[in-house]
Symmetry: C2
Subunit: 174 residues, 2 copies
DNA sequence: TTGTATTTTCAATCATTTTTGAAATACCTT
DNA sequence: AAGGTATTTCAAAAATGATTGAAAATACAA
């Protein structure tokens, strides 16, 4: 397999992964392209590499900047903007967690909290069962949220060290 | 807020959550409906509750069964099938992890492994940089995969206990 | 077996999301 | 300020994904 072919494969895989997780496929592809690009790219270069229109490239580059995954720079004597991605993959993961937590986890937690407290008539069995369900779900989503909060504050080495410890203790237990 | 209104809110929220994470919105809504339903429901009842067609209900119920989140039963003297969801939310989470790992994480890992090994010409600086990028990504995705593997084997109490310990150690460190 | 209730399938339709491309805007440089 | 890039916007078009509904298949009971 040649380099170009491998890059293409990587971009496709990253795009599919994003798509499966509710991220615009093209946005993920642009991200992939910049992740493996040794130097920063102009909008035109992104358009050419992925065969997408100027508008599309612009929208997705801006979205990536919004997500904190991509930045732009200017080159001396050149009017164009050049884009590059954060390469440290642990930082990328943290940034993705930060954004998804903010955009999708927090709103759900808020709704679950509302639902938990709203219903006063605890005598009704059906109400009781519903509130209990919601409490259980809120509980586990809250735990996941706390865990992710640790992850985004954690140093990579500490974090994986802690996970490995967790794993080894588990093994002993079995 | 009345019970019916609260249920409706919950179903909408669960549907939106699924949709944001690449799960068919209706499938997530059907799941939500069954999660908070005290008794099992026929296809007809699901159709009526969510205002969806028979075909749609059938497809999504079958998908949920496929995911291991819903089962069906028969009632004496009734020809219809009745559907009910696994209520233990930790089990639900584990099942979701199992499926997404199988469907989406494993294939990506496979591709990353292929890309890592495929390129022999290590003298070329560009090739070297690419392989290094891929290795880093493979590394972190692999770690995530291992962690999820622990989660799906773990007892709920042990798992959250371990997370809390992790958290408290982190706090001391700071 | 026959008739009836129920489930499944899937081509056609509908809805949503994504993309395009050209006009408008912003940005430089002189 | 003018002239030439480059970027942004957004209505319309295209592509994709979801839903319908009716026909076919299946399951059951008598």
């Amino acid at each position: 397999m040649q380099l170009e072919e491998a890059k293409e494969k990587f971009i496709q895989a990253w795009g599919a992964l994003g798509s499966n997780w509710g991220i615009n496929r093209t946005m993920a592809q642009v991200h992939a392209l910049l992740l493996i690009s040794p130097n920063s790219l102009s909008a035109q270069e992104v358009m050419d590499a992925l065969n997408i229109s100027r508008g599309n490239a612009n929208m997705n580059l801006r979205a990536l900047i919004d997500w904190g995954l991509v930045s732009k720079e200017h080159k001396a004597g050149d009017r164009k903007e050049y884009f590059f991605a954060e390469k440290d993959i642990w930082q990328v993961a943290q940034q993705v967690i930060i954004e998804r937590r903010k955009r999708e986890l927090k709103p759900v937690l808020k709704i679950l909290e509302d639902l938990k407290t709203m219903e006063g008539d605890q005598k009704d069995e059906e109400v009781k069962a519903f509130v209990e369900s919601v409490e259980n779900i809120h509980n586990i989503v809250g735990q996941a949220d706390k865990f992710l909060e640790i992850a985004i504050k954690a140093d990579r080495n500490w974090f994986f060290g802690a996970l490995i410890k967790m794993f080894s203790r588990k093994s002993k237990q079995e």
